[in-house]
C-alpha cells in the first residue's frame, strides 16, 4: 500500500498482534490507536481496559486522555481505579499490556521518568503512571516507540518499568508474574526478545525499511534474527478504518466546548 505513513504502518502492525477476545490494558497515544484499530477490524471481541477504570470500552473516537468521557459512555462498566490495578491487573486477568516509553534498552526495560540524574534531571518526564505494574503483570507486553539513538539506548537514565532486566532469564528468575515485552513495534519494523538471551533482536521490517536503517536508529549493536520477516503493508480496509478513526477523532476534538457558565442570576 503506497502512501501510508510509518506511523500508520506501525499502528497497523501493532493492531495485527492482538487476537480477538484478548483482554488488553491500553496506554494512551499510539497504543490506543492500535487497540481500537484491532477492535474495529479483525478483533471485535477485544476487551479494552483503560487505567481510568473503564472496562470493556468501545470508543467511537480516540480519547485524548485516558479518562475521556467517551471511554466511560461506551464502557461495559466503570470501576474505581484501585480495582483496575488490584482486582484485574495484579490478579493476572490482563492478557496484553500496551506501553510506550521515552527510552528503551536492549532488554526491553523502559524509562518514562527522567533524562539525566533523578535529583536534577535535564528533562523531567511525566513518570511511571500505570506502567511498572502493567509491565510486571500483563501476560505479554507490547511496546510502541519510535526509534532513535536517544530513545533506543545502551543504558537507561532510569528504569521505570522492568523488561527482561539484565537478560538471560533474570526476569523469570525474579518471579515476575507476567511474561515481559514480547514485541517492540517501531518505525522501521519490529524487535522481539531472543529466546535464550532475552535481548531484543530485529525480527521484521516494513517493506520499505532496511536492516541498515534499523541498525542506525538503535543505540546499541542491534542483533538480527536468523530470519527477518517483512511486515505486509496495511490493507486498504485497515488503512481506511484507521484513517476514518482519526478523522472522526479530529472532528470530535474540534467541536467547540461551551463554557459551563449558567446565565447570570441562575445558580
Amino acid at each position: 500500500m503506497s502512501g501510508c505513513s510509518r506511523n500508520e504502518w506501525m499502528t497497523v502492525a501493532a493492531a495485527r498482534l492482538l487476537r480477538d477476545k484478548s483482554v488488553c490494558f491500553v496506554g494512551i497515544g499510539l497504543p490506543s490507536a492500535a487497540c481500537n484499530l484491532a477492535r474495529l477490524t479483525h478483533a471485535p471481541g477485544l476487551v479494552l481496559i483503560y487505567e481510568s477504570g473503564t472496562i470493556g470500552t468501545r470508543p467511537q473516537v480516540l480519547p485524548l486522555s485516558i479518562g475521556d468521557g467517551e471511554l466511560a459512555e461506551t464502557a461495559a462498566y466503570v470501576v474505581p481505579l484501585p480495582e483496575v490495578f488490584s482486582y484485574y491487573l495484579q490478579a493476572g486477568r490482563v492478557d496484553i499490556g500496551f506501553l510506550g516509553a521515552a527510552q528503551i534498552d536492549r532488554y526491553g526495560n523502559l524509562n518514562s521518568t527522567v533524562i539525566g540524574p533523578y535529583d536534577l534531571p535535564t528533562t523531567r518526564l511525566p513518570g511511571a503512571g500505570g506502567a511498572p505494574e502493567i509491565a510486571l503483570h500483563a501476560r505479554q507486553v507490547f511496546v510502541m516507540a519510535k526509534a532513535s539513538k536517544r530513545s533506543f539506548v545502551e543504558r537507561l537514565d532510569f528504569c521505570t518499568s522492568a523488561g527482561y532486566l539484565d537478560g538471560y532469564g533474570a526476569r523469570a528468575r525474579g518471579g515476575a508474574p507476567g511474561g515481559g515485552p514480547r514485541a517492540v513495534i517501531t518505525d522501521f519494523g519490529m524487535l522481539a526478545p531472543h529466546p535464550q538471551t532475552d535481548e531484543l533482536q530485529l525480527v521484521a521490517l516494513f517493506a520499505d525499511a532496511s536492516v541498515e536503517e534499523a541498525c542506525a536508529a538503535v543505540g546499541w549493536p542491534l542483533a538480527l534474527a536468523d530470519a527477518i520477516d517483512t511486515i505486509a503493508p496495511p490493507t486498504p480496509h485497515e488503512l481506511d478504518t484507521l484513517r476514518a478513526l482519526f478523522a472522526r477523532t479530529r472532528e470530535a476534538h474540534a467541536c467547540p466546548v461551551h463554557l459551563p457558565l449558567a446565565p447570570e442570576g441562575l445558580p
Partner: protein, 281 residues
C-alpha cells in the same frame, strides 16, 4: 456544612497542609485549585495521582513545597511546563517529589481510607523507583514468606473533589470515571466537595457511589467547577484548553501574565469562566 468556595478554602486549607485534589481526567476540581491560588496558600504538600493543569498552576504560582504523584503530564499533549521548571530549575521554589506508580498510590489511598498504616502490592519490581523513594519498602507475607512492596498510607489533611450533586443533608453523588477519588475522600481528615448541583434529595442509590454526609466536611455549590476538566451529564472536557495550555505555560512570563489576568484578578470561578468567554470572543 454549606460554604462559599472562598470560605471553604479559607477555613480548611492552612499553609503547609497536605492537600489532595483528586478526580481522574473527569471531575478535576479546577475552581478549588484557583481559589487556593487566589488566597496565596503556601508550603502545601500537594497529592494527586495525575497532577494536571491545575497542579501546574498551583506549582507555578508557588503554592507547593512537595508533590506526591504517579504521573505528571498534560494528558495527550505533553509536559506540564511549570512542574518541569520546578523540578529542573527549582522555580519558583524547590519541589520535593514523593514519586510512585499508579498501583502504588492506589494502594496508599486504599490504606488511608481503611486507616491502615500501609498498603501492600505486587509492584515496583525491577524498577529504580524504590531506590529513589524511601516510602517504597517491602513487607514479608507471614504465611508464604514472600516479599511484597509496601507503601505508607496517604491520609491528606484535606481532600477536595468535584462531583455532580449533593443533597440538603450533604450526601454527595458521583457518577462516571472516579479514579481514586472515593478512596482519597475517605482517607482525608477534612473533605470538601464542590458540586454542579444542589438537590433536595438524591435519587435512590443502591450500588452507586455516594459519600455520606457524615464524612463530608464542606459542600460548595460551584457550577462549572471542574472546567476545563469535565462533569459527566453537565459538560464535556475542553480538550482545546489543554492544548492551549502547552503554549501558555511554556514560558514563565506568559504563565504569570495569564494567571494574573484569569485567576488572581478574578473574584471567583464564575468570573474566571466569564473572563475566558471574553478572551475567546
Amino acid at each position: 456544612m454549606f460554604f462559599s468556595l472562598a470560605d471553604a478554602i479559607h477555613d480548611y486549607i492552612t499553609d503547609g497542609a497536605s492537600v489532595a485534589l483528586e478526580g481522574f481526567t473527569h471531575l478535576i476540581p479546577f475552581a478549588a485549585g484557583h481559589e487556593i491560588i487566589r488566597q496565596r496558600k503556601r508550603g502545601l504538600h500537594l497529592i494527586r495521582m495525575t497532577p494536571d493543569l491545575v497542579y501546574d498552576q498551583m506549582i507555578g504560582m508557588g503554592c507547593a513545597r512537595k508533590l506526591t504523584f504517579s504521573w505528571g503530564g498534560n494528558p495527550g499533549v505533553g509536559s506540564l511546563h511549570r512542574l518541569r521548571d520546578a523540578v529542573e530549575h527549582q522555580w519558583p521554589n524547590p519541589l520535593e517529589l514523593d514519586e510512585h506508580s499508579h498501583a502504588g498510590m492506589a494502594a496508599a489511598f486504599c490504606a488511608g481510607a481503611a486507616r491502615l498504616p500501609f498498603g501492600t502490592l505486587r509492584g515496583y519490581a525491577g524498577t529504580d523507583l524504590p531506590a529513589r523513594n524511601p516510602n517504597i519498602r517491602s513487607v514479608t507475607c507471614p504465611f508464604t514468606g514472600e516479599s511484597l512492596a509496601a507503601v505508607p498510607a496517604i491520609n491528606p489533611d484535606v481532600t477536595i473533589l468535584h462531583a455532580q450533586r449533593a443533597d440538603r443533608e450533604g450526601n454527595v453523588a458521583i457518577e462516571g470515571i472516579l479514579g481514586a477519588a472515593r478512596e482519597a475522600a475517605l482517607a482525608a481528615h477534612t473533605l470538601i466537595v464542590t458540586v454542579e448541583e444542589l438537590v433536595e434529595e438524591l435519587p435512590p442509590a443502591m450500588n452507586a457511589i455516594v459519600l455520606p454526609h457524615w464524612i463530608v466536611t464542606a459542600v460548595v455549590h460551584c457550577p462549572g467547577g471542574a472546567y476545563p476538566s469535565y462533569a459527566r451529564g453537565h459538560y464535556t472536557r475542553d480538550n482545546s484548553f489543554y492544548q492551549r495550555w502547552d503554549t501558555v505555560a511554556r514560558e514563565r512570563d506568559d504563565f504569570l501574565a495569564w494567571m494574573e489576568q484569569h485567576v488572581l484578578r478574578t473574584s471567583d470561578h464564575r468570573a474566571f469562566l466569564t473572563g475566558l468567554t471574553r478572551a475567546d470572543g
